[in-house]
């Protein structure tokens, strides 16, 4: 059943649930962060409209810095601004930042412990028609390997807004991952958000059957995981859905608890299955509570053109694929 403590959207399973891209949440959040703290500045590499940095530009033109198509310079300039007391948010597509400017981020931001927020837009295959060149699938891995880097992939536009506001208050480097396509807004302003905390979206009714599988997901695919859990529950298969926006530092307590309760784990992410969120979960559980794990993600491939729905289905990341994966993983145990 849905976790009512989280005050999720009342329209959560209704066809007319609001759909908004998480990048819109960035735009709103960074304006709020800018109002709260005059040190907040936004740097953008010629993508003000599509990153939604333009919302900040309109509100604070004097604190918006157009960098041109120069992501390497943007990262290092931001490091310099942070050293001079600013709180820079740098916005571009994730393939370019942190894709192209990885070493500038490593040396001038991470090693310097610079107070810079790296905002990677258009992450995942759900970018859609632009194709493989623009579908970033390796950013979570690259960023979570950097010492001192906080990594957050918000689940919807409302949570995205909160992550931006929260990240402005963290003194250190943060990577924030956003998507291009409109996805269901399943949280509300009342839903709690705390950096480093996971949310149990779905769990078996008290006293009912034990969960078969814990589905751990990050980013906007948490809504697909939730849909899968509801469908499975209607067919008598109970699961836990743990939404994990903060990939680093991982909420190990919540991950451990759900793995113990279900005994089996499926991870879901719009990212290479190697090195990303699923890897982070598997690394932790293999050392602390080994359980059967299946990691849903992109399997050592690049994306391609198509609609977001087509692509998520093709790569096995829609709710039907998650349902099948749960059945398969639960079925393995039944055979034994």
């Amino acid at each position: 059943m849905l976790n009512e403590d989280l005050k999720l959207s009342e329209k959560i399973f209704s066809p007319d649930i609001e759909k908004t891209p998480t990048r819109d949440g960035f735009g709103k959040g960074v304006v709020e962060a800018g109002k709260a703290d005059s040190r907040v500045v936004v740097l953008c590499a010629d993508l003000a409209e599509s990153t939604r940095a333009e919302m900040f530009q309109k509100e604070f033109p004097e604190r918006f810095i157009e960098m041109g198509v120069a992501e390497q310079n943007m990262a290092a300039v931001a490091s310099g601004m942070a050293a001079a007391g600013k709180i820079p948010f740098i916005a571009s597509y994730a393939v370019f930042s942190p894709g192209r400017n990885y070493e500038q981020i490593r040396t001038t931001i991470a090693l310097n412990r610079a107070n810079v927020k790296i905002c990677g837009m258009h992450a995942g295959v759900s970018v859609g028609p632009d194709g493989a060149t623009h579908q970033m699938l390796e950013d979570i891995g690259m960023m979570r390997m950097l010492p001192g880097m906080t990594v957050i992939a918000p689940g919807d536009a409302e949570e995205a807004r909160k992550t931006v506001i929260a990240s402005a208050k963290i003194n250190g480097p943060v990577y924030l991952r956003f998507g291009r396509s409109a996805t269901p807004v399943f949280t509300t302003p009342e839903t709690p958000f705390q950096v480093g905390k996971a949310l149990i979206l779905w769990k078996p009714e008290d006293g009912s059957r034990k969960p078969e599988v814990a589905i751990l997901s990050t980013g906007s695919l948490s809504f697909s995981a939730l849909t899968a859990a509801k469908n499975l529950s209607e067919k008598g298969i109970e699961t836990i859905v743990l939404h994990v926006p903060t990939i680093k530092p991982l909420d190990t307590e919540a991950v451990l608890d759900s793995a113990k309760r279900a005994g089996r784990v499926i991870t879901v992410e719009e990212h290479q299955s190697a090195g990303g969120f699923g890897s982070a979960v598997a690394e932790f559980l293999s050392e602390h509570h080994p359980v059967p794990i299946r990691r849903l993600g992109i399997q050592d491939q690049f994306g391609q053109s198509g609609s977001p729905e087509e692509l998520l289905a093709h790569y096995g990341l829609d709710s039907a694929s998650i349902e099948n994966a749960v059945r398969e993983l639960a079925g393995i145990k039944l055979k034994i």
Binding site: V41, E62, R63, I65, M67, G68, A70, Q72, N73, A75, A76, V77, A78, S79, G80, M81, A82, A83, A84, G85, K86, P88, E103, Q104, T107, T108, L111, N112, R113
Partner: protein, 302 residues
Amino acid sequence: MALTNEQVRALEKKAEEIRETVIKMLVSAGSGHTAGPLGMADIFTAFYFHILAHDPKNPGWPERDRLILSNGHICPVLYATMAHAGYFSVEECLTLRKFGSRLQGHPERSRLPGLETTSGPLGEGLSQAAGMAYAFRTDAARDAERPSSDEERSASLTTRRVYCLMSDGEQEEGNTWEAVMFAGKNKLHNLIAIMDRNNIQIDGMTEDVMPLEPLADKYRAFNWHVLEVDGHNISEFVNAVGEAKAIYEKPTLIIAHTIPGKGVPEIEFDYRWHGKPPTKEEGKRFLKELRTLGGKISHDYA
């Protein structure tokens, strides 16, 4: 603001001491770069003993000028100069590149107070310096609009300058030119870059590896003010920085023509000394060569 002869002599003497420390550090470390640090000793001396507004006893002083070393591999001369200026003891210089040392093989800001950034990977320093200069200028404009009660503080904030020391080799990095464009567009007059034009890089002479000239014209085309000086003439260099400070509409580049390995005639202008340290024996010989030359200079002035 020109230096007196006495001041010039004192700075030259200091530069010689710094070169000696550099050689001792490299011998002790057993690895590191020799040519660049010796070539830049005069300029580092000019900065830390004359140009910079700084306080070695209070390295975090907010109103200090910022000196960004972009080509971090020449850090032995940065460390040696900082030690002689009083940031830490000259003895600590001998810990260079050793386990547990604050003097990492390439400088790391979080390990040693007084370092303005972490560097080594080339082509990134000018971007960071430009970011600082942009932020300081924004703050200065804000303070001018809404003067704080402490007018003196506000006035001194507006004069904070950012100096970026970079190599000629790193002009081959695309990131450098992104920074050049950004600084030119934004007319960052409080940014002064110094290029160590020593003509060598690891694989050979810059003009053979990847021709850089005409460097001055290139920067001018990007809306910079460009000056060229003899990087071993401290007085000339100080005057150039003075001129750069007076340029209001553009960032300034000072191309400092230097001799790699300067002070040790047997390695001067030899690119093979870019990335290796002297052995113990070579170190002794180099120190002797340095001191003989030092004697000659003081003789000339006497």
